[in-house]
Amino acid sequence: MRWAFLARRLGFYLAAAAAAIGLNFLLPRLMPGDPSSAIVEELERVSGQQVPAETLMSIRAIFGNPHANLAQQFADYLRQLSHGDLGVSVVNFPVPVADLVRQALPWTLLLVGTTTVTAFAIGTLLGVVAGWKAGSRLDAILTPFTTFLSSVPYFWVALLALWIFGFVLGWTPLSGGYDADLSQGFSLAYAVSVLHHGVLPAATIVFSAFGGWLLGMRNMTVTTVREDYVLLAQAKGLSPKRVMFRYAARNAMLPSFTGFAMALGGVVGGALLTEIVFSYPGIGYLLYESLQKRDYPMMQGVFLLITLAVLLANLVADLAYVLLDPRIRARG
C-alpha cells in the first residue's frame, strides 16, 4: 500500500520536473525585451556615456535575435542539461553559469537556510503557546504584535536595522558577507567575520518572517484544542505539556509543515531584498540580475535549481507526511 503511494507521488514529481524544464526554457523567451537592449542599457549605465552607433550595431549582430530557431535552441538546451552543463552566462561571457551559482549558493543556503528554520521554530513554538491559551495575556500581546509585524514591509525593517545597528550604533558592518581584508578559509577570524556580517541580515529575516508562522500555528491550535481527542487526553490526566505538544500541536502543525517544506525549497531562491540592502553575496541577486539583463542561460540555471529544490522539498514533505499523519497511510 505504502509503496504504491510512494510510486504515484514519485511519478507525479518526475512529470512536474519535466514540465518545469520545458517552461523554464520557454518563459524567459516569452518575456518582452532582448539581451541586446539590456546590454546597451548596462553599457550606458557603467560608462555614463551614450553607446556609439557602431557598438550598437555589433551588439545587435551578436545578440540580435534570440527568437530565432526556437526548436534548435531547445534541443541544444536539453543536450547541455543532460551533460549537467548549465551553459555560459551571456553578461559574464565566457564564465560558466555553474561557476556563478557555485559562488553564490553556499551564502544563500547559510543565511536563508538558517533563518528559515529559526523563524519557523520560533514562530511555531510561540504559536502553539499562544493558541493553547487563546485570549491569555501572552496571546493578547503576541498576536496583534505579529499581525503588525507581518504588515510592515521587509525592506523598511532591513533599512531601519542597517541604519540603527550598522550606522548609528556601529555594531555591525554596513555591507558584505565577510570582512574582505581577511583571507577566505577555515580560520576562526574568518568564521567570526562571517557571523558578524550575517547576524543583522539574519535577524531582520527572522524578525519579519516568524510572525507569519506564529499566526498560522496559533489559529490552527485554537481550533485543534477544541477537538474531542484533546479533551480526552486531558481527561486521561496527561500532563498539559504532553497534551499541548503531542496531541494539539502535532495535528495543528500539518498545514504549517507544508508551508515549511515549500519555504525550504524556496531557500535556494535566496532573499533578494536582504541581499540588496546588505550587499550579501547570495543567489537572489544573481537571479535578479539575470532577469534584468535577459541573461537566458543564467536565468534558466537559477530557475531550474529553484524548481528542482521546491519539488524535492515537497517530495520530502510528502514522505514526512506519511510518517506524521496516519490518515494518509490508511488511505494510501
Partner: protein
C-alpha cells in the same frame, strides 16, 4: 527538547560574540605608512564580482575597473567638448582625405610583465574586432590595420573618418598583449590574471573585494596610493559608508546630497555633478502625424516646465538649453545666442504655433482637417520617470488643453517600443562625445520604417540639410570649420525641434576626502573623477595626495 534548547543557546552566544568581536574598522585605513589605499564603493555591480578580465569579449559584467589595467590608445576630453586626446598613442595624422590614419605610439610603455608595448600589440588588438566580429562589441569602422614600424601603425577606412576618431578611445577597445592573448582560446578564457599597460595590477580577487596594486613602473607617472580597493555596496549602505569614511570614492546620485552629506563637512564631503554632454529629452516621432509637423513639435517644446522637473529631481539649475549641448562642456562650441538660455513655459507662443500650423485643440485632442490625435508619452518606468512625465503632461494640459497619456514601460518594453517607432513622444536620453557625437543620431542613414528596429534615430528624423552638415563634419578635422558646422546643426535642432531637451545629464561623483585630497571640482577640471572612464579615472588618481602629507 531540552538538548535542542541548549544548542540554540550556544548558537546565540556565538552570534553575540560575533557582534562584539572585531571592531568595525574602516576598510581603507590600510596598514601603517607603507600602505595607502583608495577605496571605491561600487553600487551598480551587484553584490559580488566575477573574475573575468576577458576585456575583448561581449560580456557587459566584466571585472570592474578593468580599464585601470587595460588602456585605450586615446582619450576623449569631455572637459573640452569631447576633443580626442593622446593616451597610449602619442600622436596621429590623417591622410588620403581622412581614409588613412597613421598612429605613432608612445615608446615608454611596458606591460606589467615587463615586456615592451609595441606596434605588434596594437595591430593584434585593433585586429580582433575585425577578425572576430561576433566576439567584440566595440564596433569599429576601420577595415584594416598594418604595422609600419615598431612604434607606428596605419589604420585604413572605407570612408573619411575624422569624426569617428573617438572609437580609439572606447574602453571596449583596449590594448591587450599579443604575446599572451594570441595563445588563448578567447571563447573560454576568463583571463584571471590580467597583464596590461595600465597603472594597476590585480593583487587579490575576492567576490566581495578586489584589490589592485599600483605599478611602480607606470608610464604615466608615480601613483600616490599603493592599492585601490573595490567593494560592492548598495545605494543605501553607500550613504552611511561615505558618512562614516569607510569609502573614499563612489559614483552614485544622491538626490538630497547637498544637505544630507556635503553640509555635514563641506571640506571633506564632496558631492559633484559633471555634465556628461547629454540631456534627457522629449523625442518626437517625426515619421507620423501629428509630430511630423514642426508647429506641433514647437508648441509642445514651448510648454515643457523644465524648472519644475529639475526642482523635483532636486538638481536645481540643471535645466537643459534648447540645443541639448550643456554650457559646462560645450562653452566654446555653443552658438552665443543659445548660451545660458533655457526655454520658459510660453503658452501664448505655443498657441500661436498651433494656429500657424492649422491645429486646434478639441476635448484634449489635437485636431486638423477633421482628424483627431491623442498623443501619448513613452517613458522608462524602471528609471522612476513617472513623476516627471506627469509634470510634462500637466503643463501641456494647463497651457494648451492637450491631454497627453502617460505610457510607462519597464526597460525592456521601453527600448522595444522606442526602437520600433511605436510611440508619439518619448522621454529619452540624447548625447554623445563632441557636437558631432551628440547630433549624429539625427542622420537619415539610421532611419528605418516604423515597425522595424532602429539602432539610432528612434524619432526617425529625416532632413537633407542635417545629413549634409553631418557628412561635412565627417570629412574634416579643421576645428573652426567643425565649430561653424556645429552651429548650423544647433540652429536646426532649435528651429525644427527633432527633439526637445529637458535637463542635462550628469556623472555623479561622491567623495570622502578625509584620506585623499587633490580631487577635481566641477568649476575647475581637465578630467572627470568618474570611475569607469579609464584615462580620466587614472588622471584623477595620479593627482591625488594623502591628506597631511
Amino acid at each position: 527538547m531540552r538538548s535542542r534548547w541548549r544548542v540554540l543557546l550556544v548558537v546565540g552566544a556565538v552570534l553575540a560574540a560575533g557582534c562584539s568581536g572585531p571592531a568595525a574598522k574602516p576598510a581603507g585605513s590600510g596598514g601603517g605608512a607603507a600602505e595607502a589605499s583608495v577605496v571605491y564603493g561600487k553600487t551598480d555591480g551587484g553584490t559580488t564580482f566575477v573574475r573575468n578580465y576577458n576585456v575583448m569579449g561581449p560580456a557587459t559584467d566584466k571585472a570592474p575597473n578593468m580599464e585601470l589595467v587595460y588602456e585605450p590608445l586615446m582619450r576623449v576630453d569631455y572637459g573640452e567638448g569631447g576633443v580626442v586626446k593622446p593616451w597610449l598613442a602619442e600622436s596621429w595624422t590623417f591622410s588620403g582625405q581622412g581614409k588613412q590614419l597613421t598612429i605613432k605610439l608612445r615608446k615608454d610603455v611596458t606591460w606589467s610583465d615587463g615586456q615592451q608595448f609595441t606596434a605588434d600589440d596594437v595591430v593584434y588588438s585593433l585586429g580582433l574586432p575585425i577578425e572576430k566580429p561576433d566576439f567584440s562589441i566595440a564596433g569599429v569602422t576601420y577595415k584594416s590595420v598594418q604595422k609600419v614600424d615598431d612604434s607606428t601603425v596605419k589604420v585604413v577606412f572605407a570612408e573619411p573618418s575624422y569624426a569617428t576618431l573617438n572609437q580609439f578611445a572606447n574602453i571596449l577597445l583596449p590594448m591587450v598583449p599579443k604575446h599572451i592573448w594570441s595563445t588563448q582560446n578567447l571563447n573560454t578564457w576568463t583571463n584571471p590574471d590580467p597583464i596590461g599597460t595600465g597603472p594597476f595590477t590585480l593583487e587579490e580577487f575576492k567576490p566581495q573585494q578586489i584589490t589592485l596594486r599600483a605599478r611602480t613602473d607606470y608610464w604615466g607617472g608615480k601613483l600616490p596610493m599603493t592599492t585601490y580597493k573595490i567593494i560592492p555596496t548598495s545605494a543605501d549602505a553607500l550613504k552611511a559608508q561615505l558618512l562614516k569614511g569607510d569609502i573614499d570614492w563612489a559614483s552614485a546620485s544622491w538626490p538630497n546630497g547637498e544637505k544630507e552629506y556635503v553640509a555635514k563637512d563641506p571640506d571633506k564631503h564632496l558631492y559633484q555633478l559633471y555634465s556628461n554632454g547629454g540631456a534627457m529629452s522629449v523625442l518626437f516621432n517625426t515619421a507620423k502625424a501629428p509630430f511630423d509637423d514642426v508647429h506641433v513639435r514647437r508648441a509642445l517644446a514651448l510648454t515643457i516646465d523644465r524648472t519644475a522637473v529639475v526642482t523635483t529631481l532636486q538638481r536645481p539649475g540643471t535645466e537643459a538649453g534648447p540645443t541639448g549641448l550643456s554650457d559646462q562642456l560645450f562653452a566654446d562650441w555653443l552658438d552665443p545666442a543659445y548660451k545660458g538660455k533655457v526655454q520658459k513655459v510660453d503658452a501664448a507662443a505655443a498657441k500661436a504655433e498651433l494656429a500657424a500650423g492649422g491645429w486646434t485643440i478639441d476635448n484634449g485632442a489635437l485636431v486638423k482637417d477633421g482628424k483627431r490625435y491623442q498623443p501619448s508619452i513613452l517613458f522608462n518606468s524602471d528609471w522612476g520617470w513617472g513623476n516627471y512625465a506627469d509634470i510634462l503632461i500637466n503643463t501641456w494640459k494647463q497651457n494648451l488643453g492637450l491631454q497627453v497619456k502617460g505610457a510607462g514601460q519597464p526597460s525592456a518594453g521601453y527600448y522595444d517600443k522606442q526602437n520600433l517607432g511605436q510611440f508619439d513622444l518619448a522621454a529619452a536620453s540624447t548625447g554623445g562625445s563632441g557636437v558631432y557625437g551628440v547630433y549624429r543620431f539625427l542622420s537619415s542613414s539610421f532611419k528605418v520604417p516604423i515597425g522595424k528596429s532602429a539602432t539610432l534615430n528612434q524619432g526617425r528624423w529625416s532632413d537633407p540639410t542635417t545629413d549634409s552638415i553631418l557628412a561635412s563634419m565627417e570629412r574634416t578635422d579643421n576645428v573652426d570649420q567643425l565649430k561653424t558646422l556645429g552651429r548650423e546643426l544647433q540652429k536646426i535642432v532649435v528651429d525644427k525641434v527633432p527633439f526637445s531637451p529637458i535637463y542635462n545629464n550628469f556623472y555623479f561623483v561622491d567623495i570622502n576626502a578625509t584620506r585623499w585630497t587633490g580631487w577635481p571640482t566641477p568649476d575647475d577640471f581637465d578630467h572627470i573623477p568618474f570611475v569607469g572612464m579609464g584615462p580620466d579615472t587614472i588622471l584623477t588618481m595620479l593627482k591625488l595626495q594623502r591628506r597631511g602629507s
